[in-house]
Symmetry: C2
Subunit: 377 residues, 2 copies
């Protein structure tokens, strides 16, 4: 069962930089979950075959064609996609469905109620869908779900595993099919706040093993591969946004103005998320000043922290915004023409490598046909 | 007072496409409010001098230097920026301050409480700031505020004008200085919902004129130029996001899956904003089906409408998402590698011009140093 820790699906939602994938591939047997855009996989990573899990929703035909061509595991989001995939690309030997348990499972605060989520099959549709696949000659089957985001409570994942194992037992019996794998999805959180604890993987592993014995093994459905999608846990804690203090401002509140903004990290502005902040060289000073830490975007949500106690800050101080390795640069926008920064990687041998250059004005205006402008009056 | 309608500041927050500015310049005496990135103005529009109003916050030195060089109106966001501007670029002849009225003015629901906003000077700081400017030899003065966003109630703008006129009278008397202009800021809303009415400009004009007579004129401070920032009203209603229906999905709710996503229009996902949707060719059919209209992003907020009554929709239908001319493409992100679409302009002579090409995978990966990747092991 320790597959969970050494072999994982890595959701590309949170991070899209080849160099980081390259380093992850070097140290583990990564399988990439491509979330919608399987065509990128080939152009950037040279991954092929079942090392790619193609999860998507509202999928265009060309992405299914590309996924089929690459031999990826195709994870269908909706029962209507069976016919669509067959027509556009032909059905592969192995097909996976994404399950939306709806009322059978509570979501968590971050991802909301599964019944309100646009993703996946209902339980009834799973039975119908696998029946159709079997009739059409599909030989191998997978089941996937994704019901939580950034969850720290290990029992949540054990419950998800239990639910999926039970569904697999039911479907396997009723339709007389064998499942190759179950993908328990992502959602394992990281301790963004200093008083939070990392998820104890051993507790999840033991809980999942117990449920596995009780349902999968007891029903003779062993072996069943188990996958997890661990993008946030792998990348989140190991990325830092480093930003210099440009200005201090004292009006109705005290503001620390930095040279970063939502272009670099949108989670606080978009979700109100907490990211821990330390001031380089002031780690041991008392946190006795109350600040809002802001960016320079003309958007009042552009704040990295609101009412945060920090050491006294001066212009030129370097702030380190922690846990920015997931959903940072990849999620940043260019609103108001803000450009995104370079990315550096600190490697095990202490060398620092530029893995992405900073954006330029030329990048920002690349899609404007300036030659045409001259004739435009 | 009809300056308000024929001469305006146009906030570039909501739109950044030269071609649109070119067309606007052709039909009016536009003044551009550059919101932070004055350096773009030169490279893209060849605007110079006081046709540019440089409003910014948390401003880097190089942007002040560029604004000074262009002869732009410099609008300072904080009292500490006087010294910073003087040191980095020298003080120009004309300086404007952004006022944050704090408890003196209620914000609206869209922009929140001014006391929580990171922008501007307190009233006390205005007195102190203009006193410093006068001592340092600055000759001409402006006052700016921005306290609302997307407001439809005309009296709100009249109250803002009254507040600013009164502050100008107070400061002019106490410091014996003369104001060149007041910029009442933006915030004029547009009727996103079909049951809403456009802001009656004549009501604002009459109300502002009355207040002007009572304070500015009565105190001998006439003439005072009045500016408004009307980006949303000029561009918002005249932009449409047209998207094709890829899939219909029926689980716990009924979903219409489109080929657009938050990359093209983020307001519904980010703010829960309403955008009206019509189905081409079905304008007269009964709206008797309840749908969530979604994009294909792996982000459950990626919905253009939730629980919306629409005519029955089929795959291939074209949906028109209205009022997407402001805060659409310019605010879109590339999260999950989603690419933004082309932009077309319909001109008065009915011709259609491509004013921005669609993004490509090459654009998306432009900042990755792929040559370096080969040596990266």
């Amino acid at each position: 069962m320790n597959l969970m820790l050494t072999s994982f699906f890595r959701s590309s939602t949170s991070r899209k930089n080849h160099h980081i994938f390259t380093d992850i591939q070097r140290i583990s047997s990564t399988i990439l979950n491509t979330d919608n855009q399987v065509s990128y996989t080939e152009c950037s990573l040279n991954l092929k075959g079942e090392g790619i899990m193609f999860s998507s929703n509202d999928t265009p035909a060309e992405e299914f064609v590309k996924a089929k061509e690459l031999g990826a595991i195709i994870n269908l989001d909706d029962i209507s996609h069976i016919e669509f995939l067959e027509k556009e690309a032909g059905l592969p030997e192995l097909v996976c469905f994404r399950f939306n348990p709806g009322p059978l499972k509570g979501g968590n605060a971050f991802i909301g109620n599964p019944e309100e989520a646009k993703y996946g099959f209902t339980k009834e549709q799973l039975f119908e869908g696998y029946r159709i696949l079997k009739e059409k000659g599909v030989k191998r089957f997978g089941l996937h779900t994704m019901v939580a985001s950034n969850e720290l409570e290990p029992s949540y994942f054990v419950e998800t595993a239990k639910l999926l194992f039970e569904v697999i037992v039911e479907i396997s019996k009723e339709l007389d099919i064998r499942f190759d794998f179950v993908n328990l999805g992502g959602g394992i959180g990281i301790p963004y706040r200093p008083d939070q604890k990392a998820v104890p993987y051993d507790v999840i592993a033991k809980g999942v093993r117990d449920e596995y014995e009780k349902s999968i093994k007891a029903n003779g459905l062993d072996p069943l591969k188990i996958y997890l999608e661990c993008g946030r846990t792998i990348t989140g804690p190991y990325g830092y946004l480093v930003t210099e203090v440009r200005h201090l401002k004292h009006i109705y509140k005290d503001y620390v103005g930095t040279d970063a903004c939502m272009a670099n990290l949108m989670r606080p502005g978009l979700y109100g998320s907490y990211h821990h902040i330390t001031v380089l060289g002031k780690e041991n000073e008392p946190e006795d000043h109350l600040y809002d830490v802001t960016g320079s975007l003309c958007e009042n949500n552009d704040k990295f922290a609101i009412d945060r106690m920090l050491p006294e800050i001066e212009r030129g101080d370097l702030l380190v915004i922690h846990d920015s390795g997931a959903h940072g640069h990849a999620m940043g926008f260019n609103y108001n023409g803000k450009l995104r920064s370079a990315e550096l990687m600190l490697r095990e041998d202490k060398s620092v490598v530029l893995i992405r250059r900073a954006e330029t004005i030329e990048d920002h205006f690349a899609t404007l046909d300036l030659e045409g402008l001259e004739d435009f009056s």
